[in-house]
């Protein structure tokens, strides 16, 4: 499953540079699939929706740092444990129950992001 940042976030920004997928953004910041990944042009997401990797996506949270679930692999393929959770000073990067994925699915996502 993806990791989610809860509203306990103190906006310190420690997690942002740790993410191997550039899935973490500051609150209210626009984001793109293509940032920090090898995705370019039109891409098809797991749910069948097609988006452009360079197209600006809307912020998930306006107040706190947020993780784009489609870009989060829980650090599978990179690290032993989710790096955002490892460095979060208030332990607010937690598993997202709304986005539960198996290890295989996460590995596949990692390959999709960095082909």
């Amino acid at each position: 499953m993806a990791i989610i940042i809860t509203d306990e976030c103190i906006n310190c920004g420690a997690c942002e540079p740790e993410c191997p997928n550039t899935a973490i953004y500051e609150g209210a910041e626009d984001w793109k699939y293509g940032e920090g990944t090898s995705l370019i042009g039109d891409i098809e997401l797991k749910n069948g929706v097609t988006v452009n990797a360079e197209e600006t996506q809307e912020a998930v949270s306006d107040e706190y740092y947020f993780i784009s679930p489609n870009k989060c692999t829980e650090c599978i393929g990179f690290h032993e444990e989710p790096q955002c959770a490892a460095v979060c000073p208030v332990d607010c990067c937690v598993p997202d129950n709304a986005h539960i994925e198996t290890e295989e699915e996460l590995l596949a996502k990692q390959k999709f992001l960095h082909n």
Binding site: I10, N11, C12, G13, A14, E16, P17, E26, A86, V87, C88, P89, V90, D91
Partner: protein, 701 residues
Amino acid sequence: MQSFRTEIENPIVEKDILELDRKIKLFKEGKIDEERFRSLRLARGVYGQRQFGVQMIRIKLPYGKVTSEQLHRIAGVSDEYSRGRLHITTRQDIQIHHVSLDRTPELWSQLEKDDITLREACGNAVRNITASETAGIDINEPFDVSPYADATFKFFLRNPICQEMGRKFKISFSGTDADTAISFIHDLGFIAKIKTENGVVKKGFKVLLGGGLGSQPRHADVIYDFLEEYVLIATIEGILRVFDRFGERAKRAKARLKFLVKEMGVAAFLELVSAEIHTLKYQTFKVDTTTFEQPVSFQEVTIPAVEIENEVAFQKWKKTNVIKQKQAGLFAIGIKVHLGDFYTPKARLLADLVKKYAANEIRLTLRQNILIRHIREELIPFFYVELEKLGFANAGYNSTADITACPGTDTCNLGISSSTGIAVVLEKVLEEEYPNYLNNKEIAIKISGCMNACGQHNMAHIGFQGMSIKAGDLQVPALQVLIGGGILGDGKGRFSDKLAKIPSKRGPDALRLLLNDIDQNQQREENFLAYYDRQGKTYFYDLLKGLADTTNLEPSDFIDWGHSENYVKAIGVGECAGVVIDLIATLLFESEEKITSAKEALKENQFSDSIYYAYTAFVNTAKALLIAEGVKTNTQAGIITSFQEHFVISNIVELETSFEDLVYQMKHENPTKAFAQKYLIDAKSFYQKIDAHRKTTLSHV
């Protein structure tokens, strides 16, 4: 209450203090905006603290230099307005706590009697200028950097170009390539260098730009290998002007210079700096070094005879705490100040000692210690005996056992878990179990209570950072263990790796694991960092991993060091930030104030200052209208462009030229009287136009 009014000799300082007093009253009457008041008080050294209703006061002490008289004055102020404790910071300031807001103007006026300021100690200004504590006495230094640090402090204090920047700005001066002022983590770091050209020895600096710690540390870039001394001030001014104009203002987490430099690139940034050169008041500026070059003088005293009771302890202390100076026959003595805290009765005795038997000067150090300079060799035993009486003769100055820690949850709003508590415990572990580390000056241990890194934990060999871990419904006070940072010298440094997050109570075990491993496996010829690199990050992660397990917590793990009750997470909001003021009326009112300041500066023939005030009036006025329209106003440069796009091109506001050309005249003109006059008229007429426009708009609503 106005007793301080007549006592201050310097009219500028008097005006400053009276203004603070007036604004406090207006704030209490609810007549000025709270956020606005906060940024005003911060720029006057008045900071919030964890305890409600009282203030922390930061006393700005450039390069940590304090005379006996000043130390007496600070002690007096602490007794009168605070609680008698003096805290030395990692940036060579002194902080006192629990001060009532109402009494801060009076406190400040007391300090000014001995030329001590609070101005720009906090807030989005040029903070205290730090320097190597051995500046002026160091055997290895090419020259004394103190006069340059002093000139920089004086030049930028109250300077209109750096009063309301997007974020704070830190400058350091290192005397030698050992880089003890840590240039690579500063917005601007200088390292003294000399160069011989055609037989002439020139003084200058290696210059580093855009470094910083915090939750996203960045290593500064070298921008000059050798910058001659006479362009030092101009270079700093140019950089501050560019930071003021292009620096982020809305997003606090991205507002430090390091982010701007990263985004823009060093070359592009420097190009903008060089384009500023016309506008500067001084293209070259000769720093007067004469007062720093006087021969050291002493009071005439007979050397008191002393008896050393414990010769072994004395020798041990002498080995770790006494430093030979470049001046023949003179020595400096380091006092290891536990956690940077000392108390006024001892401060007074120290002040007297230094005045009578040394040369009336101490320096506060970046590792929260005190360095007494100019001790004659024959007085060393006497000083040892006297310092021992004060409890100031502990061996191990600047050693591994001399741990740096910010105040953390004791008084700071931002602290997550205790930093001082764990520091006390770790120092005890070192003294009792690893006494040889009292002689180790290679490995530094530094601790911060949160990611903001006031304790500089993420550039130390071994660092700890305050955190919290969730365990069911409860919170466990925690520490992140970091390893592998350090100063490499000549402007290079390393940030440490974040290795493991462990319950705070296991901090001592983490240190034991690490030191035992070093003792066993580090090769004789290897230094600590070489050993760390050889084993690699994963090796140390594996070493510490067991301590991160939270399935076996004990009740005591829920209680932080120095506490008796279960840990409660309480993290407030930082005060360092300039707050975004969105009130249009306030903005317009401020533009009026800036125009008044521009007029006053012009009257006093301060043309460059006047132009800058007029410039900020333009920007501020434009911002007011943009905010009314809901347009983003993140940077001054952005405001100028957006105003052109939204109001000028669409003819909502009619100007004879583009708004850019109107405002940026100051980039192309020299700061002459004629131009300052013209520019002020332009700023005023622009303000009047906008004010009228706004009044019409409002009347139509």
